[in-house]
């Protein structure tokens, strides 16, 4: 975290006599490093009269691993879905990597984003779903190649190499020519992770990725996520019911209740010594169920 990922040294840019950038070293590094990767600013989500998220404010730093927990209906999945632009927001602004996601800046004002802007900013985000959502008519390898080829325009050969590498990383190189229907839940979910990574996102969203799995398959998926967190520069946002994993893996845990963050903090503190009554209730209910 101390070594900046991008460093400008004495960079300058001028058009004729107009100097646009003049040695922006300090400013840029500070800006890049201090700016949160994702920022929710007063974000509100409503379905008709039902308010799912109420003026949510949440900053997620670069490379931070954040787990979101909470009872069902608390709005935790909605946070991820809004960030993936699967849900429209009714108020506020979401910022990704310093840019507004669903809006764009025009003459100093924020206006609704064009499709082009939306797709550019969205390309920084990848998502893994509870029900995998693999493409059933394609093999594991084709699943991981499809978007790089037809969305990014990568040559087939290059996409195939990268897809094979990623499948190798999730431990499925022997399943590359299998169709999703021939894979177990855990294997499907690992293919889904590889597929999302093939687009080289900066932010990865995991939406209850182990909830649809048999208990004995959960471990293999969590191991892959653990490995990802350790080996890649990825900001991760994860909705989960795996409290043990949240405790060991995340930098911060947020407890959602009734469309608000009721409590957040380092996992040891929030899971070990929660301050809020509702958090305590939730945690004891979850732990009792085991």
């Amino acid at each position: 975290m101390n070594e900046p990922r991008i460093r400008f040294e004495n960079a300058a840019k001028s058009y004729g006599s107009l100097t646009v950038l003049d040695n922006p070293e300090t400013a840029c590094n500070e800006k890049v490093m201090n700016e949160p990767m994702v920022r929710f600013e007063n974000v509100t989500k409503r379905y008709g009269a039902l308010t799912v998220l109420d003026e949510l404010n949440l900053d997620i730093a670069r490379n931070e691993k954040v787990c979101i927990i909470g009872p069902s209906g608390s709005g935790k999945t909605t946070v991820l879905r809004m960030l993936m632009t699967l849900e429209q927001i009714q108020g506020g602004v979401i910022w990704v990597d310093g840019e507004p996601l669903t809006h764009m800046q025009k003459n100093g004002h924020l206006v609704p984003a064009s499709d082009r802007h939306l797709r550019r900013v969205r390309s920084k985000i990848g998502m893994v779903f509870q029900h995998f959502n693999l493409f059933p008519h394609m093999t594991a390898l084709q699943n991981c190649m499809e978007a790089p080829v037809s969305v990014l325009g990568l040559p087939k050969k290059q996409a195939e190499e990268r897809a094979a590498e990623l499948l190798d990383m999730v431990g499925l190189s022997d399943k590359r020519n299998h169709f999703p229907i021939q894979l177990s839940g855990g294997q499907k979910q690992r293919v889904a992770i590889a597929r999302a990574l093939a687009m080289r996102p900066k932010v990865m969203l995991f939406d209850e990725v182990t909830s649809a799995l048999d208990p004995e398959l959960i471990g293999e998926v969590l191991n892959v996520i653990r490995k990802l967190g350790a080996e890649h520069d990825l900001t991760m946002l994860m909705v989960t019911h795996q409290m043990g994993f949240a405790k060991e893996f995340s930098d911060r845990v947020c407890f959602f209740y009734g469309g608000k963050i009721v409590e957040q903090g380092p996992p040891d503190q929030l899971l070990g010594n929660p301050q809020n009554e509702r958090t305590r209730q939730f945690l004891s209910a979850v732990l009792e169920a085991r």
Partner: protein, 223 residues
């Protein structure tokens, strides 16, 4: 029944059969192409396009096929467009059935799991690429059985082209029956003739497509 009229009738029947097959194939091609286009436009995200598709299929699905064929054949010439009976047969029947097919296409597309659309969005697919690479390849599988039904229906409606001067299979059978007086024989031939065309042409094609497109899906249902 003398030999001459029998031979003559058999020849006329074979000719009629050929015409029915040609009209069926031509109209089917028109129906499938226009049906796919109309169905895809029907689920477009732009409402003027959607509206256009609705108007198209309401007209062709909601009014009588025979009247549509009459319109093309007898009324269009008043506006300076004189189509040959063949063009009217192939395009008239084809457009009519394309309206039914468009609804089959729409239903199949809308039946593709929501998760597939969400995954495509998450992978940043533009809408058209998503339709082409992800949605339609999955939807086609569920379009096939009802499309097979419609093509068999289409085959049987081709007898309507009798009204625009084309002597197709049913007409030929009727003429042969009239000429020889052997109604039982020739209507039996006509009855089985249609079954034969459907069984030889349409069913194998649909089955073959179902098999080809089934990779990645459960196969038990396809014998």
């Amino acid at each position: 029944m003398d030999e001459f009229s029998l031979n003559f009738s058999v020849l006329a029947l074979a000719h009629g059969l050929l015409i029915t097959v040609v009209v069926t194939i031509g109209a089917s091609l028109v129906a499938v192409v226009l049906g796919l286009i109309a169905g895809l436009i029907r689920v477009s995200s732009l409402w003027p396009l959607r509206w256009l598709a609705v108007a198209y299929l309401e007209f062709f699905r909601g009014t009588s096929l025979l009247v549509q064929v009459y319109l093309l054949f007898f009324v269009l010439p008043f506006f300076g467009v004189a189509l040959s009976p063949w063009a009217v047969a192939i395009f008239g029947i084809g457009m009519n059935y394309s309206a039914y097919l468009a609804e089959v296409v729409r239903a199949a597309i809308q039946a593709v799991d929501r998760g597939q659309y969400e995954a495509s969005t998450a992978l940043n697919f533009p809408r058209l690429t998503m339709m082409r690479r992800i949605v339609v390849p999955q939807a086609i599988r569920s379009m096939l059985p009802p499309s097979g039904n419609l093509l068999i229906e289409l085959l049987k409606s081709t007898s309507l082209v009798f009204f625009i001067t084309i002597t197709e299979f049913t007409t030929a059978s009727k003429l042969a029956a009239d000429a020889t007086g052997n109604y039982l024989l020739f209507f039996a031939v006509a009855l089985f003739g249609y079954y034969f065309i459907a069984r030889a042409l349409i069913t194998p094609l649909v089955r073959w497509l179902e098999r080809r497109l089934s990779s990645g899906f459960v196969r038990e249902a396809l014998v």
